[in-house]
Symmetry: D2
Subunit: 366 residues, 4 copies
């Protein structure tokens, strides 16, 4: 509801600017008694951390998370959890020029027009650094999910860089953590490395598509109309910086299908209903089916590029701008752990919503 908060019951409010003293997440509504310490969260933050290879920004941030509240003797107490990450490598000199000019494709101009003031240092609040807070919060959500539904797994990976898609036949879960692009297709990873090196050296950038899957979610999460599981997933992903499209299951391609091709037939399996296919992406009528929950989102290319671009100054004068400094040729790479974190937060939120309304009692089949 609030401008910087997401979630109904597991509520995450992120705060902080790129070059302020710190940023973080205030988490309210976390179930009590869950084992949690900073190291568990650091694991996920380290995956998002910049400067890990030549394909991400060279800003050096340790991104060390401190837990300031809500934990006692290694367990959540049910009170608000405050997660703080200090900014250390702020080099604000890099950003001096952009205080007076609006970078095309950036939030500079809209922040100015809305608020009449903006923090230009590193993009301020619109910096992708904000997503570190999401990843930390997602780490908390993962631990709660692990306690409530030990079999669940949430995994994100890149399925497209620029116009180059992975080959689904080469999909290998074990590859995802084995290349700098979090992609399940090793051949694609090799090709993308060459492609992205070219873009990086020319000071250009490119977009990407990320897929996030939740495996082992029970049937029954979600609600019929506005509190739909897919509504909240779409909102969560679209709220990530630079995301321009979100798909569930077949996504935009569902438009091309006939009713015969699209409907997933149902049969009885040993543990309950099974489906012959998953065009629905694990969600029917806003409620999970028990299949894999599958979403994808497109990340636009960063607009911080070395080619001069036409723009205007605050005074309204025509000018050009080149964004120097440290940037990501494909910000989609670092969006992978962010998408996972958002999925974890949404799923946990709906687990809590569901047990609130239904008490976890389910309509039996068979």
């Amino acid at each position: 509801m609030s401008l910087n908060t997401f979630g109904h019951l597991f509520r995450v409010t992120t705060w902080g600017e790129s070059h302020g003293p710190a940023l973080g997440a205030t988490i309210d509504g976390c179930p009590p008694g869950v084992s949690l310490d900073a190291a568990m969260l650091q694991h996920w933050l380290d995956r998002r951390k910049p400067g890990q290879n030549r394909f991400t920004t060279q800003r050096r941030e340790p991104d060390e998370v401190e837990i300031l509240s809500g934990i006692y003797e290694g367990h959540t107490t049910g009170t608000p959890i405050q997660l703080m990450i200090r900014n250390t490598d702020q080099r604000s000199k890099d950003y001096g020029d952009i205080a007076q000019k609006f970078r095309p494709g950036h939030a500079d101009i809209t922040y100015w027009q809305k608020y009449g003031i903006r923090d230009p240092r590193g993009g301020g609040r619109s910096s992708a650094r904000e997503t570190a807070a999401r990843v930390a919060a997602g780490g908390v959500a993962r631990e709660v999910i692990r306690a409530l539904l030990p079999g669940m797994q949430i995994k994100g990976y890149m399925v497209q860089m620029g116009p180059r898609q992975i080959e689904r036949a080469r999909f290998d879960w074990d590859q995802i953590d084995a290349n700098p692009f979090w992609t399940p297709d090793a051949t694609a990873a090799a090709e993308w490395a060459v492609y992205l090196d070219g873009l990086r050296k020319s000071g250009s950038s490119v977009g990407a598509v990320i897929e996030v899957v939740a495996k082992g979610a029970p049937a029954g999460l979600g609600a019929p109309v506005y509190g739909k599981l897919d509504t909240d997933i779409a909102a969560a992903m679209m709220s990530i910086n630079a995301v321009k499209g979100v798909e569930i299951g077949e996504g935009m391609a569902a438009a091309c299908l006939t009713g015969e091709a699209n409907a997933d037939e149902i049969r009885m399996g040993p543990d309950g209903p099974e489906f012959s296919s998953n065009h629905a992406g694990g969600i029917l009528g806003g409620i999970s089916t028990g299949q894999d929950i599958v979403c994808r989102f497109a990340v636009k290319p960063t607009s911080s590029i070395l080619t001069p671009r036409k723009t205007i100054t605050i005074a309204g004068e025509a000018t050009e701008i080149v964004t120097k400094g440290r940037h990501d040729p494909c910000v989609g790479i670092r969006a992978v752990p962010v998408g996972e974190a958002m999925m974890a937060c949404v799923i946990l939120d709906h687990i809590l919503l569901d047990r609130a309304q239904t008490g976890g009692i389910r309509g039996r089949i068979g």
Copy 2:
């Protein structure tokens, strides 16, 4: 926050089942003093009404809206507006068979699994009839927008049916209201009519892509992180029945672009900043730029088809199902006014949010 409510300040709660006595929308937070009567809302409902041509369901519903509260002497009073639409053509005999079987691709199975009870008559709450309430609420939002920002226009239209896209070069605003598909491309309309007749006669169905544009929205609507304008548009559109993907501006195709191609250059125009292109879909950093706000969403084909499909009963036994009765070969057609309504609600909500936080004061440029 609530399961069946959308909006932060202009809050719409829809209620009602397909075959209950009535359905409607409870609107809270509407500004006072806006001219409003039932005829203004009926105009939009009539566009969504079933049975208007051979391409939509033959269910006959007058969809007459009554205003039960919130209006005095033809103006909104600022108190809740209750909009009620009586169901008249309920023919529940059509749906007898499906009480015991789950239709593939429908919400039948997930409702059952979540709630342990469901109203099978016409799909109950999961019926597309719920969208009539959205269209009525959108009609209220339109009148308030007209009072606050007279220059704004919100228009939806179909840009793809099945695999067949419109030709952007043939785009003609005046065509949109001149064909049964609300498409701006007259040639496409003619081709689609033949195509859809074929699908209709064979008892099949197909998906579609709808585009909705808001023209004349001021710069400054939205917020940086979760209360982003694009987040709320994505949520609003994904909350419509059968929608599987949402795009802003370039959408999923943004992944294919380079930074040079994607960033919309800025220049000074007579009335303020102008942009050389609109890849961003009118939104940067979650906040409107003053350009056209452009979104698209994909509607899957209805799963109510005449071809038998494999499924199970509540008892878990294998069976087949054919959905007889009255159905839409392309539900995307009737999603056009629904998408417009959702856009109107989101835009108005953000106008109110913006004047709450900023008082409408803007950072000047030039």
Copy 3:
């Protein structure tokens, strides 16, 4: 959150004006599978209904509630429940004079100043008729509580009329439903009847204090800081028309006590902790203790009296006003079922919130 909504998860939005076609409540978040029909709600509405004896307004309203949605075969489905009550006895001629004058002590002037428009017929939205919708919604909450926690009881009664308090030593539960004032003290009831007859005949009015008790609520409902059980009870009661004060347990008198006198000592009983007293009103740190939850609220006298009062017109001219028509000499009487309804809604809301966050798992003692 919304202007006309209360509740976090069991969310009730009331709508409607005194002399519009209807009023009602939209309930979202109700658990599924609970037995419910209109007669169950009518039982509670009949207790609040005007014109039942000479001490309440002679407006004749059957207050018949219709359930328009959310029920299938006599059970809640988990979808929104729409409750509608038609207005029948509207006699708007009674209210002609007050369209141009502001009644002292009424919302007339503030509605006008805020909205620039108001429905003067019977007070419009500010009429106590709005509370019929609350009572209907409270009836739903009661049925859900009965299903979840069969031992709970919620009971309201009058403990003070004007300056006359009941004698606690004469408290008799069985008396509450046996007199027109819902008071547990039969002697007080007899005295109040004489007292109120005098006020009624002279066209005056008087205030009252209502106490509402919830028995059998489990320990653990509520939350530490803003989502406190007592916070929500205070808000719920203060939101009732004409209420000016709310107390939990000792209430305002807690100020007079020493720490020794105030703290309820704890001992172990056969079913868990017991307390030697209940100064806390069943709530410590915002969370229920398992004792009776006790609140009181003061209802001011209605300002609709036969004595002329000085006021102004919309044009700002000095004038006098006498409110003719049908009114209540002690509106506190009809506030008793309303207070019960609000307590039921708050308790149920917190049952749902609690099982969302904690899953109903409790810290064991002993």
Copy 4:
């Protein structure tokens, strides 16, 4: 809405435990462009700070607030403001005994029963230290109000300690800041000092009543039903630790009045409507009248006293407890700045809500 958040649009989430590393407030929805620095907030925190005289706890906390986000060059940017206060004097050895025993009148037992875990160090989340975060947030609200409505003043003061009330005839605004009890009655202050010294030396404690007034608030803040200004004030005050009753205007005493005595007559003054009295406490029908907004709340005596009290252990065994350590003989004293802070937050929230819905346009009178 959330468990630890208050406010609709100016949303404050407090976090932190008494003996954790820090506590604070996350503020979302603050208007941009308001002058703000830490010193402005420190002013208010210093009023609440413990250990300032012999009548408040001797815990030594500098309560220095750091602003971690949301400010650029001395002005709010419209993004979340994070306020952090480090805990320094934690002496957790004082609290060793109470980890296994429940203190009567404290939240110990209910936290345990709800969550199955609690931080016993200094009361953890239930400590009155949490109110430091509220005071800091209230300081932000005050600065925004100053920018929007320069004439407004919010002032709290003690009107009763134990059974001893102030004499209204001796009310002197200038006295409030001149004595350790924030009371406007110098004679009462002198008497209370003697009285409280006696209680302090005997290890006892006593309750108090605080009154908070907002002067200069415009007519039109609030809403008719649940979003009433008085509803939100009641909730805000009841959410403060140890508060057991809340009153608006006449409060509980309104029950004793007749309609003639209670209704504030209206006349036209030079700047608009005026009232002959203010029994309503500046609020009619949930909406401000333009008069002083007046509320009172009762604070119970702290239960941390030197007299042994009967209680049980977590194991359910009977025992006694004496709360040693540093405590307040009258916690009501430090509740004065907290009440002011809550009033400031509520008023600002309603200013924002009002300009959202009405745009600040008012119904003219005269």
